[in-house]
């Protein structure tokens, strides 16, 4: 069975403006898919709709995660079912310590899956190990979530959360934006460590640069609210060289 099946997904925002115009995508366990597309084409909208953000109206189509109707679930249920979104713009949460946030999230998911809560030493051990791999200063974890973090620190914090939550399907929305090359490498290595035969990933990006470090199995070109072309990793290089001009003509025609 496929891990994720998106069938003819159509989504509008208020005032009935249609953003997603029939997205079709199947991700099997172990696959890494890249979605590349220009700004404003609807990539973040797709990521938000998958994770259950309010403010979008699904006007057609369906989404199955492990065969279950994803769109019928609350955002927290989707997370417990194995979906993870690394946000393009991670939120700052004043007053909530990162450690408290991580522990609450991990235990909430475990509880929903009928697993026992992590003991404090076990939790601390896991966080310390994963943070070290991502070169995250333990001092940062005592601070409120993302408050005062640099752009790169926020993105690494997203990857840390992914590593701790061990999702079945990870959607990474422009994890490369705002990162210098060293930070990009650290984040990409973090993502690569999580590649496994059971796990699927959708890497959304604007530039081919990230895909030098996270090499995808399949590349999709996203344009004007849907996937207009699918190919192998060489497609990313072609896009980098030629841009999206061809697709603009196609839409105009």
């Amino acid at each position: 069975m496929s891990l994720l099946e998106i069938k003819n997904l159509q989504v509008s925002v208020e005032d009935d403006r249609q953003i997603l115009r029939g997205v079709n995508l199947t991700v099997n366990p172990g696959e890494v898919h890249a979605i590349m597309g220009p700004n404003g084409s609807g990539k973040s909208t797709l990521a938000h709709v998958l994770s259950g953000k309010d403010g979008y109206a699904v006007t057609g189509g369906e989404v199955l995660l492990d065969g279950a109707d994803l769109l019928a679930m609350e955002p927290d249920e989707r997370a417990a079912a194995g979906l993870f979104l690394a946000f393009q713009y991670p939120m700052e949460i004043p007053g909530v310590a990162t450690m408290t946030f991580l522990r609450t999230a991990m235990n909430a998911q475990r509880k929903k899956r009928g697993e026992a809560e992590l003991s404090t030493p076990e939790f601390m051990k896991r966080v310390r190990e994963e943070a070290a791999k991502l070169s995250i200063d333990p001092e940062m974890l005592r601070r409120p979530v993302n408050v005062g973090f640099s752009g790169g620190e926020k993105k690494r914090n997203e990857v840390l959360q992914m590593a701790l939550l061990q999702p079945k399907l990870a959607v990474l929305d422009e994890t490369d934006s705002g990162l210098d090359i060293d930070a990009l490498k650290i984040a990409a290595e973090g993502v690569n460590r999580l590649r496994s035969p059971e796990r699927g990933m959708i890497v959304i990006t604007h530039y081919q640069r990230l895909l030098d470090h996270i090499v995808p199995d399949i590349v999709h070109v996203f344009f004007n609210g849907r996937i207009v072309r699918t190919g192998g990793k060489e497609l990313a290089h072609e896009l980098e060289a030629k841009g999206y001009a061809d697709y603009e003509q196609e839409v105009a025609a």
């Binding site: 004043p94 999230a105 939550l165």
Partner: protein, 452 residues
Amino acid sequence: MQTTMSKPQSSGPEALTSEAERQIAAAWAGVKDHLPGPAPLTARREAAFRRFEAAGLPHRRVEEWKYTDLRALMRDAKPLAQPPGEIGTVRARAAGAVLAGVDVRRIVIADGVLLKEASDLADLEPGLSIGSLADALGSGDAEVTSRLGAQSPAEKDVAFALNTAFMGDGAVIRLAPGATVARPIHLVFCFTGPVPATVFTRSLVEVGAGATLTLVESHEGPDAFDYQVNTALDLVVGDGATVDHVKIGTEGSAALHVATLTAALGRDVTFRGMVFAIGGAAVRNQLFVRCDGAHTNLMLAGATLLKGRQHADATLVLDHAIGGCQSRELFKGVLDGDSRSVFQGKIVVRPDAQKTDGKMSSHALLLSETAEADHKPELEIFADDVVCGHGATAGALDEDLKFYLMARGIPRKEAETLLIQSFVGEAIDTVAHEGIREALSAAATRWLEARQ
């Protein structure tokens, strides 16, 4: 949200027209010849009652009471409380559980009477004395009578005047200059029943120069019982002293509670005040704070958590008589159901109070469409070289933050709880004493867990 700036206006004499006002007048006639205190105090009680008689209960056309119409809130005035019986005393011994597990010196004041046998009066730290107001008034302690309500703006307030007229008992605490009391003193106020009544309590706390004290008051009583509390505390703080004052309001669900704090602060004082309001049907906390000496550092915080039809008002008058002082006010309200919070903060900077640095902010988090928050900041500045400002916000929980938490697997209610805790946590975190701070956090958490 409403934010208004306005000048106070005085109200003219009015007849006692409401049922409650007539009942208060009748109670006064019955009790005035039996109240404790020497002749000068009797005259002050009489004068205080005359102020009530002239103005009636504060109502919405009295600027300072604009949002808390006491005349409308008091459909009647309950009879004066009787001292607690055997059952009441048993209840009083169990009161103050909000600080269970914190090492404090408990002074129990039940139904308006300081219960010595239920209080920890043994082994007082050097320099500390604790007695009852009834004893001090009965023995004609001139110092006590002269200190009571010596602060002028408070004297004009009718609710406080009623306290002066009717006050019978409370605590009198004195700390000698230079003395340090590490163990917090906990004034445990409770109403024990058995029938709804009115309680007047008055306490006086004098902290000598350079002394250090943490003082907590908690107020409680049975739910669904429309008793009425008028409580006041006069705080006199000497130069260089450090005082923490925490007031925990956990009155029963139908109670009316009006509390006045007057504080006169000397120079180089560090004063941290916290008003934690969670209980009662209608609550008014009024604080009259005056900085009489330079270089005093003041932090006043409030955390209010309301639901149902609860109403809580925090009204603050901060008078900078002398320059070079710093004041910070941070009031946070979490409002669910049809509840309403009021914050009125007035900072007065007198002509001589140059280099005053004052910042006041109040924030309301509205958890329902029907909750309401009113803010009224006022700055009356008569000096030119000052830095004073205020800010107010009111709004719902941030949906994007909530989504971020939920996207990590945290259920909606738990996500809301985390965000609300962090919102009030900022105010609670100003409490210096760790045990008391944790007790307040725990009380906020219980409140949140009880939300459905």
